[in-house]
């Protein structure tokens, strides 16, 4: 793709999302879809991110708030269970952390280079709510 010449692509400033027909796309999971190399799903934009969210499933109540609010469809949820984060497309905006209702939060932002296991081991404790 990157090295093809001017005569080797389809005309128009146009890119296809899928190889072949889309088919029953609504009930096909992203990982099972036949995305082309040109689809934004095939491209990693992880290097846009300065901070990353880390998910700690010990506190998650599967409320799906993060899934609803994520502007980049980067919260991976299956059968209404939070599984993790699509780190190829997450831009590190922090909205998932902001909307997480648990105490302590199940998602927290850390520097991009932080080690996930270390951060989970040192996860903050439950905060006492002031009465």
């Amino acid at each position: 793709m990157a090295n093809t010449g001017w005569d080797e692509f389809e005309i128009g400033a146009m890119l296809r999302t899928f190889d072949g027909e889309a088919g029953d796309i609504a009930s096909t999971l992203q990982e099972d879809r036949n995305y082309t190399q040109n689809s934004s799903f095939s491209a990693s934009v992880a290097d846009w991110r300065l901070e990353k969210p880390v998910f700690n499933k010990d506190y998650c109540i599967d409320c799906q708030f993060c899934w609803v609010y994520c502007p980049d469809i980067s919260i991976i949820s299956r059968d209404k269970k939070m599984i993790g984060i699509d780190m190829d497309h997450c831009k590190g905006c922090g909205i998932c952390v902001e909307v997480c209702p648990t105490n302590p939060k199940s998602l927290l932002m850390f520097p991009e280079q932080a080690d996930e296991e270390t951060e989970i081991a040192g996860w903050p404790a439950k905060e006492d709510k002031e009465k």
């Binding site: 128009g12 027909e21 889309a22």
Partner: protein
């Protein structure tokens, strides 16, 4: 949803704007997205009237500006519809950004430009400065010299533009007021004959094909932009001219009216010739005939296809002519006129010893009279007899005040 057909007389009295509107109706355009501007308004107004009278099955989208008008056309064309609109002058200037989007996205849209001067000073009358402004925008450009040709070229433009080997938008130019508001007898095609000539619209990469989702108008940077533009230029240069000739031939078979990328009158043995566009071509033809009676072998070349510029055809037609005048109806802005430059480029690396001079005329609707052309042919003949240019290379015709000459 059914719509009614019109029973047309074999000859109808239409002006250029109404002729273009009738062609849009007969082509069964799906979407006209438009903003009114003198002198083009009657084209899109005409389509709107046909729609309200149930004579077309389409959408008329009234938008807030010409920029939005062409943007609407681009969206409708990407969605998979047959699309057309009209504008002029300042409206075209506001559209300019989106014209490049349309051609780069390879969307077949038909734009009627009813040629009008660009302000300032504000002026609603004819010159070709709007046509010239967008000549590098990647659109195919046809030029109609009369209302009949505005009708015919609209039908021809759809068929060329929408061909899957072409997929480039096309402009049909006609002179503001001189053509757009001048009524003449138009030889019509029946609704069925016209539509069959244009053909059913065949979508390509349309957004309404939900089984094959596409993203239109993508971004490419230094890694891909050049290849896209190279492909577009290659198709414009290598595919479009042949397709235009093919469609011209099919139209002649249907209507008996023959079009050429470069129209010629009395050029077989011409020693002096005028190259021009728009309604001036008919005036020049008349004068050339009269010059023949005076013993001057005068000819006229009318440019039917402005883009892609018929470089080789112009070179072939003009190679043996002794003196040629390029008539540019646009303020040259610090250069020779466009026709002067293109003709000079066509002949430069050939054996032609043609004497080429450029004339700026008719700005803001100033008349080009027969007297002007008689004087012009006389001047060309003097150049031809002397074997050299007796004037400077660029002159102004019909402007008051001391004589202007440059270069």
């Amino acid at each position: 949803m059914a719509f009614d057909k019109l029973e047309l007389n074999d000859i109808e009295v239409w002006d250029g704007n109404h002729a273009a509107a009738q062609a849009l109706r007969q082509a069964q355009v799906d979407v006209v997205s438009a903003y009114p501007i003198t002198p083009s308004t009657a084209i899109v107004e005409g389509y709107a009237k046909f729609k309200s009278d149930n004579l077309v099955e389409g959408e008329f989208v009234m938008v807030e500006s010409e920029h939005a008008a062409m943007s609407g056309c681009i969206g409708a064309a990407a969605a998979g519809g047959r699309v057309a609109t009209a504008t002029a002058s300042q409206g075209l200037a506001l559209m300019a950004e989106t014209l490049y989007q349309a051609s780069g996205m390879r969307l077949p849209i038909i734009l009627n430009i009813v040629n009008r001067a660009l302000a300032a000073p504000l002026n609603v009358n004819c010159d070709h400065s709007d046509m010239y402004m967008v000549r590098d925008s990647g659109w195919i450009q046809f030029d109609a010299f009369s209302p009949q040709e505005a009708y015919d070229l609209n039908l021809i433009a759809f068929r060329v533009s929408e061909d899957h080997s072409v997929r480039l938008p096309a402009v049909v130019n006609q002179d503001g007021f001189l053509t757009s508001h001048t009524a003449q007898g138009i030889h019509t095609l029946t609704d069925d004959a016209a539509f069959n000539f244009v053909g059913e619209y065949k979508p390509m990469n349309d957004m309404l094909d939900f089984e094959h989702p596409v993203t239109h108008g993508v971004q490419t940077e230094e890694d891909w932009h050049f290849e896209h533009k190279a492909r577009q230029h290659s198709d414009t240069m290598n595919i479009v001219p042949g397709k235009i000739d093919e469609v011209f031939a099919a139209f002649e078979e249907l209507s008996g009216r023959k079009y050429n990328q470069v129209e010629t009158y009395n050029m077989e043995d011409a020693e002096v010739a005028v190259v021009c566009m728009g309604s001036s071509v008919e005036t020049a033809r008349e004068v050339a005939g009269e010059m023949r009676a005076k013993g001057i072998k005068a000819g006229v070349v009318g440019l039917r296809v402005v883009r892609p510029f018929p470089f080789m055809k112009i070179a072939e037609i003009l190679k043996d002519v002794k003196a040629v005048a390029a008539l540019d109806r646009s303020a040259p802005g610090g250069a020779a006129g466009m026709l002067f430059n293109e003709i000079a480029g066509s002949l430069f690396n050939t054996d032609s010893k043609m004497l080429l001079s450029g004339y700026i005329y008719g700005l803001g609707g100033r008349d080009l009279t027969k007297k002007h052309l008689v004087d012009l042919y006389t001047e060309l003949q003097a150049n031809a007899d002397a074997g050299k240019l007796l004037t400077q290379q660029q002159q102004f015709i019909g402007v008051r005040g001391p004589k202007l000459a440059f270069l």
